[in-house]
Amino acid sequence: MNLLLRPFTVYFDPTNQELVLSGKMRPESAAEIGDALELVQQSLEKYGGVVYLNVKRLTHINMTAFSALSDVLAATCRARPERKIVIITSSVVAWSTSLFQTLAASQPNLSVEVYDSAFYPGQSFVEDETFIPILRTQTKMTWRHERELLPRHGLRNGLAIADICCGIGDFAALVQREFKPARLVALDHSVRSLEYARRVATDFDLQGIEYTYGDASQMLLRDNQFDFVTCRHSLQIFNRPEMLLRELYRICKPGGRVYITNEKNSHCLGEPHADTIKWTYEEVAKLFSHFDMDVEMGPKSRHLLADAGFDNIKVDCFMVTNLDGDPQDFADVIEAWENVYAGEMAVRRGDSIDFIRRFRQGFKDHVFAALHPKGYAGWPIWAASGRKPL
């Protein structure tokens, strides 16, 4: 059951016994949210054991709504002292945990847990600080192409820009320097990445970038604020890309554009050893799929943007190769991929030693191709953008 009472949503997921509240709840009276309260009450009455109240993406609430919700929860706690209610808050929404703890303090069978783990399935794999130099190298290699492509997708000087899932902020720093935006917000859910980004901005005397800790699927940024919204290499590692695109659409101004980049990993290529390289990258796509990520998303960008409501969609594809600058940069990136994909993800999936050995070989051959004096190694990327209709 899904009650869409704008601007918030309430639904109950019976599989996880989870009530999910999201958006902004600022009614004038409790009666205005009567349907939502009834759903909460009915769900709590119907299901036993532990029921989760997920408020991770509840960005605003007034005391009218909070008090009414508290009344329903307190009544249930009193009526069924054996039942447990766990409220899941988010570390992004800074007031949330403290506020809900005031309720938990008065009800022994009600507790609050702060959700602070990865928002994306793959986030934990790349948040290791050892990965930062590789991320920087990747951006250096892709920027050569994107610098030329971005104006075609509508980026020009003086715009209000948001870089969502900004990671270590290197792309935002380049945009700040090259396109002199009127405003630039860079959002990510990795505290460590943001700390790094702020440090780099300070070191390079880059002023004016607003770094913000946030959940890309329920941002604290307001509607219709930005002329140009970027989200690079992130939709593909998010298990619900349509949800993220909805948010990108929301914060984009009518007439503004959303720019996304994604890969199609199975199309990574190299010569010599084309076959082993091809096999390994096809396995990469399957491996990511196992963790609910779609690193084959690149060519689907047009479809995704169209489904999200964008028009005037533009799609480009470019190939990052070992001929772009120093071939060692390309080789370093592949080695880092091998470490994460074969060394961590395949192990976590439970792959056999034989499989992992074969899996690694493709990466090693890709490195060989990249560094070979007559070799060629490529990594294809799709850059797409769509306009939010006026």
Partner: protein
């Protein structure tokens, strides 16, 4: 006029508050739509967020408290007169002041809520009831959560002002 307001504001503590923005409207207009509370809250909290290390998050953080005070004003003010929302900034605090007419005015001493202090809960007759009497949510809880000092005072003969000071160095810990 701003200078007068600021001078009044400075009486409450030792901080020197500089005015940032002031928004004034007819109370009848304000009360014509509940959604004005939300719109004004978001406008003001966006401004409050400026200059913070994480503007979007700080703005959201303050918006919950600011909204509550703006809704309190919505429920408390009459149809006549004008309501003014003002923001000030000192080295250590951001201040929101809401001044509005109230024909009943306060029939009692000034009300304040600072982290850890007792808050007299306004009674229903005065029209200030926004908190539940069973203690689930009090203004003092809000003050604690937002590490804010909140005061509700008389403003002249028939006016009321709500003043909230929020630490500007909020690090969300």
């Amino acid at each position: 006029m701003e200078g007068v307001v600021e001078k009044e504001a400075s009486r409450f503590d030792d901080h020197a508050f500089a005015p940032m923005v002031s928004l004034e409207m007819n109370t009848a207009m304000f009360k014509s739509r509940w959604q004005f509370c939300d719109r004004i809250t978001e406008y003001l909290s966006d401004i409050l967020g400026q200059g913070h290390n994480d503007p979007a998050r700080y703005s959201n953080f303050l918006s919950v408290a600011a909204n509550e005070l703006i809704e309190l004003a919505f429920r408390s003010t009459g149809e006549l007169g004008r309501i003014r929302f003002s923001l000030y900034r000192s080295a250590a605090f951001n201040r929101l002041r809401i001044a509005f007419p109230n024909e009943e005015a306060f029939g009692r001493k000034q009300t304040s809520a600072r982290s850890g202090e007792y808050l007299p809960v306004p009674d229903t007759e005065s029209g200030y009831l926004v908190m539940k009497s069973d203690g689930t949510v009090l203004l003092s809880d809000l003050a604690t959560i937002f590490r804010a000092a909140i005061r509700i005072e008389k403003d002249g003969g028939q006016g009321i002002q709500i003043i909230a000071d929020f630490p500007s160095a909020e690090d969300f810990r």
